[in-house]
């Protein structure tokens, strides 16, 4: 069909003759220009994004908690032909990503490795390739779990770490570990921590004096295991297997025990992000919580006395590790093992120590030297500091004279190893002297003491009947009065 002359004429003129037409056009032009500029920026970013990779690239999937950027920088500096591409996601999403797409990572960090182990997705590491991992150098659990845990629990422990019974091949290299119970504010709870000494019981969690000021971590496995530990210790219930791997009936029994506590409104908050529980405790809204060791440290930094409790029933042991994916790039195997092992070296251990996480292989000279005798003994053997606590207060809190005259019970709850032992990080020479009778001792005491009172381990396991754990936990939470 031919276009008539009229049609052509109309097409050439704008249909809307408006004085403001120009402004509108101009405005559209500006908008279009801005959009084009932005698009160009985006395209430029995208095009420059894949950096040239002449070196070997290791893909790390985890969290800076295990492998901080400073650690990566140091690793790349000392291994010039290797580059680490780190993808950091939320602590709780790491496992999902690792399991859902095992070919997208070469090395990963983990706190719950059971699914990966059972699906046989982990590459084995011969023990020789992890030279720090030796008898007498590593925390004893790793090499002799059967000495510390009941038989079946020890079996679960070994399954997660060793590919074989002879313990010659590792399934991952543990990096940090610790012992964990609960945190409390001594301004409200009338207890204190004095090193190798029990302070309170797990049942403080349902003491009605603290109603509405108690928080639990939002995970079924964690809580049910702790309650099972309590019930087992006080012989209120018997369990057929490890308390961290209950049968469905046992889970239900433990949940029934916990139900009245939830229904009474005793517990008002469930945390999953560390920052939130610190916020709640350091603002004194929560006085007692099942939470990680550094929570008390971060409360102290905010000027709130806090302790990690040495409960009668014993803390749990946990460790985290770096693992290699079987479906990862085989070309970077050696480099990835190197990186896994690098976590045990001083650079990264210095960061872990800030949160009082213990190295899985602490008995090496470089660590002892850098820590100095006072810190090393305080950290691992529960020995006292060389200065008494009231003097230490002046050192740690020079602009807070109100802290200098507090009772020692509260002063010890304000002790900050990061400041008192700062030579470890700054490189200054350590203090000399002898442990002072009124010196500070670390919460939960020495490793030897903890070996004695610890009856179970938490990470990186997951129970066999995890679906029951999860659904029962949901049920409990749903029974809280709104």
């Amino acid at each position: 069909m031919e276009e008539s002359e009229e049609g052509e004429k109309y097409e050439k003129e704008p249909l809307i003759k408006d004085k403001k037409g120009l402004t509108r056009r101009q405005y559209l032009a500006i908008a279009g220009g801005a959009i084009a500029a932005a698009a160009a920026g985006v395209a430029a970013y995208y095009l420059t994004q894949p950096a040239p990779k002449p070196k070997k690239t290791i893909r790390y999937l985890g969290h800076p908690f295990w492998l901080p950027e400073d650690g990566i920088a140091e690793f790349e500096r000392t291994r010039p032909n290797v580059k680490v591409e780190a993808t950091y996601v939320d602590f709780y999403l790491v496992g999902e990503r690792q399991l859902a797409d095992p070919s997208s990572w070469d090395i990963g960090g983990s706190g719950r490795s059971r699914p990966l182990v059972t699906h046989k997705l982990l590459k084995e590491i011969p023990r020789e390739m992890a030279p720090r991992w030796q008898e007498g150098r590593a925390i004893d659990y790793f090499l002799h779990a059967d000495k510390y845990f009941p038989y079946e629990m020890a079996k679960r422990f070994d399954e997660l770490l060793w590919a074989d019974k002879e313990r010659t091949k590792l399934l991952g290299v543990p990096n940090m570990c610790g012992w964990e119970s609960q945190n409390y504010l001594p301004e409200y709870l009338p207890y204190e921590e004095k090193g190798d000494q029990v302070s309170m019981s797990f049942e403080e969690l349902w003491n009605p004096d603290w109603k509405g000021h108690v928080a639990l971590i939002d995970e079924g496995f964690d809580n049910f295991s702790r309650f099972a530990n309590y019930l087992d210790y006080h012989q209120q219930m018997t369990f057929s297997g490890p308390i961290s791997n209950l049968t469905p009936e046992e889970v239900k029994a433990v949940a029934e025990f916990m139900r009245p506590i939830f229904e009474s409104g005793q517990i008002k908050s469930f945390w999953s992000k560390y920052g939130d529980i610190v916020a709640m405790m350091s603002s004194k809204e929560i006085w007692l919580s099942v939470s990680w060791v550094p929570v008390s440290l971060d409360c102290r930094k905010a000027g709130v006395p806090a302790y990690h409790a040495t409960i009668v029933e014993g803390p749990c042991f946990w460790y985290n590790l770096s693992m290699l994916s079987k479906q990862g790039n085989p070309d970077v195997y050696n480099e990835a093992v190197d990186l896994a092992h690098f976590h045990l070296e001083l650079t990264i251990q210095k960061l872990y120590a800030k949160q009082l996480y213990t190295s899985c292989a602490p008995y090496w000279d470089d660590l002892k030297e850098a820590m100095g005798k006072e810190f090393f003994d305080w950290f691992h053997d529960g020995k006292a500091t060389y200065k008494p606590i009231d003097e230490i207060m002046k050192e740690i809190w020079p602009d807070k004279p109100e802290f200098w005259n507090l009772p020692e019970r509260l002063q010890n709850g304000l002790f900050l190893p990061e400041i008192y032992f700062k030579h470890f990080w700054t490189g200054e020479p350590p203090r000399t002297g002898e442990p002072h009778p009124r010196g500070n001792k670390r919460d939960l005491g020495s490793i030897a003491f903890k070996h004695q009172i610890t009856r179970w381990f938490l990470s990186p396991d997951l129970p066999d009947y995890n679906d029951v754990y999860v659904s029962k936990w949901e049920e409990l939470k749903a029974s809280i009065p709104v």
């Binding site: 990503r97 997208s104 920052g275």
Partner: protein, 272 residues
Amino acid sequence: MKILDNLLKIFVIVFIAFIYLPAFLVILLSFEKSSSIALPITGFTLDWYIKKPVGYETPAFISLYYDHRFWDALRNSVYVSFATALLTGLLVTACALALRHRVRGRDVLFYVLLLGFIVPGVMMGLGNTFLYSMLGLEKTFWSVVLINVAYIVPFGLILMMARFDPDLMEYEQAASALKAGPLNVFRTITLPLIRWEVISATIFGFLLSWGELIRTQFMLKGTGTLSVFIYTQLSVYPLTPKWYAAGTLISVIAFIGLAIFAFILSRGPRSR
């Protein structure tokens, strides 16, 4: 009536104050001396903004200026959000325009497009991860953008469809009856009339993808966006006034950026 009018205006002011109350506290507490994130204020300091780090601090204790991870994440957020906003604006306009006509199976198509924001984030992330795993694909910047776009386009779509001028199609038909080509029609009639909707959809796209966490985390590679960075940090490190400083900085930048944007917008002709 005057009383009612004034009451309403007061209400607006009160509500804005309410919205700004936490923001105000964020700004105030970013100067707090101790590492506590709650009132009372014990002292004022600029440390959380510009104190030189000593070494081995966790990001929660490194001042804003020296925390290059923060700046990397911020830059990523800007890129991702811009890209998402642009794509959202384009797609939403296209789909909304198309769905006006009696396209066959229109209802079904509409709801298919809506699925993106009904599927829970965790499942979307997981499903996409499985897909990438099955196809052996590596994740890139565009993986993040696309998953955000799929989530945000339905918002924009509904926004646009709720506001289309009912006479729009008549104008367009009139114009084509007058032998204007489709491109001309679009340029001179449609676009100016739906300008506000498109802009709103684009802005919404930007805002929503800025705070988007869960889907992004499944699809990202390397350094993440700002919200992922903060969320990841807070999952194992404490909240300190440093993060308030970050919030303050972002507010200030946003304030200035939006002020400029609003200024440009208000120069254009008004639609009633």
